[in-house]
Symmetry: C2
Subunit: 293 residues, 2 copies
């Protein structure tokens, strides 16, 4: 799992690392109880969404002072996926994304249509106040102008969360959820609900991306990593793709990747990314480049 | 250019072919007047959007009886792109997509946010009645239930339009625009505004896809074609990718593709696709498999 790739300040560092460790263990416990890869990534991302440290329950505000959330979930067995974009005031967008996948003929529902669908399947709305921390509201007041804000603020205002996993049957799945960039325009959709920001295919692996959404979209980062992994190691595939993104479109970000055989990598070109993984040898986690415990 | 890949009935066949021929010439005339690849695909797609034969001005209605339009444009020089999804009552979504690319820091704007942006850049709204033909309204009344409708109706209710081009400087661009699937849920987003439904990169080529959006997303069709074209001919790259989509997710569709050196292909796995192309040798067009005039 990851908790977003950005210049995580020291005062949030411990909470971020603790948060991803708990979420990784939550996802793993679903697998040990016999759950599917899909169940595990959903559980891990719900756990991250519920943690006010990350940009989901602790969501960013758009230029109009509203919360608009994006999420995707994808099943590597069938390539089926579900996504919601610009949905308002939902506690767990990842679960709504799963409902889109399982209960509609579509893959992406956006804005009011996504909220109408949530109502129709009994997913309750929650007030904006419940989604936004006092810290976020103060930061938002400071940076009301996105145009100037994004440059100085890029590294402090977008902490997407995500999970990838492989279950004992060799099925891979991925899920990603975010509140997007602070002071984004109303209706702005980043990479998270788009299949290029996350991808899962039993033939090659599962990826969840984080970072500057517009850059991730330009190079279709998740798809690029998946195409590299057919010929490279998981670490090389992620590094090469992030390097290409830096060179071609000057974008920074991070990605977590797992192969159908259980090899995994957590890679980033930002200052930091909080990540954690559970495999046969136990729990691994890190925050700074090359840090791995 | 293409006017959508589906089982085009004989009574629309001539109008569709005439429409794509005019649009291809329109795009080419922009190039001969010194316009860029981006100008040419925008002009060609605007021409198709303005033609009531196709699903743009002659847009489909969603389950609520509303028109929601998706469009993307992408510049192969920089990988910059702009897109709108679920935007209501706009005559030329492709031009609004271009404004998103050129006038915002974002790549995708959706629903109300996209309409607010349209207003802010002076793009006028037009009434739903002006976007919907009498034929579409009658068909919509017939098929109000999407769940049963889509199966029988899949081949008759989604005619996306698109264009790809390369200019004399070797710059490629693509654009796609659609009203989506008849009786779709409110807020449904297909492949068109997503970078996987169209892609342009000066290093490899430009693609515009059409067909069953959910299937195109699952296999990231445009990106898949682009990755094949590095090692295959343009025709092989498109055919292989459409074949993979048929085998892996049982989806049908079509794609147009141009390489930076000017080689092009118009390929489809549906019954028919109206397409036209202009190259040094003149105007080419077709409708049925293997038909090429």
């Amino acid at each position: 799992v990851h908790g977003g790739a950005w210049a995580i300040p020291d005062e949030c560092a411990k909470a971020c690392v603790d948060g991803v460790k708990v979420a990784a263990q939550e996802g793993f416990s679903v697998l040990t109880r016999g759950g599917s890869a899909l169940d595990a990534v959903e559980a891990a991302v719900r756990n991250l969404e519920d943690n006010t440290v990350f940009n989901a329950r602790g969501a960013t505000l758009n230029a109009d002072g509203e919360v608009e959330l994006d999420a995707i979930i994808m099943d590597g067995r069938t390539l089926a996926s579900g996504a919601v974009s610009s949905v308002k005031n939902i506690a767990n967008p990842v679960s709504l994304a799963r409902a889109v996948m399982e209960k509609t003929d579509h893959m992406i529902l956006t804005s009011r249509g996504a909220n109408l669908f949530a109502e129709s399947v009994g997913v309750a709305s929650i007030p904006t106040e419940a989604l936004v921390s006092a810290y976020e509201r103060t930061e938002w007041e400071k940076h009301k102008n996105y145009a100037t804000g994004v440059k100085e603020d890029f590294n402090s205002a977008h902490d997407t969360v995500g999970a990838v996993t492989v279950d004992c049957a060799g099925n891979v799945a991925c899920a990603t959820s975010t509140g997007g960039i602070r002071n984004k325009m109303a209706g702005r959709v980043g990479d998270s609900p788009v299949i290029c920001g996350g991808y899962a295919d039993n033939c090659s692996g599962a990826v969840s991306c984080t970072g500057h959404g517009e850059s991730i979209l330009k190079v279709t980062l998740a798809r690029l990593i998946i195409s590299h992994v057919e010929q490279k190691t998981v670490a090389e595939a992620s590094q090469l793709s992030l390097q290409y993104m830096a060179e071609r479109v000057h974008g920074a970000g991070g990605a977590i990747l797992v192969s159908p055989s259980g090899r995994w990598a957590a890679t980033f070109s930002t200052d930091r990314m909080a990540w954690a993984a559970v495999d046969r040898e136990g729990l691994w986690y890190g925050l700074d480049p090359n840090e791995r415990h």
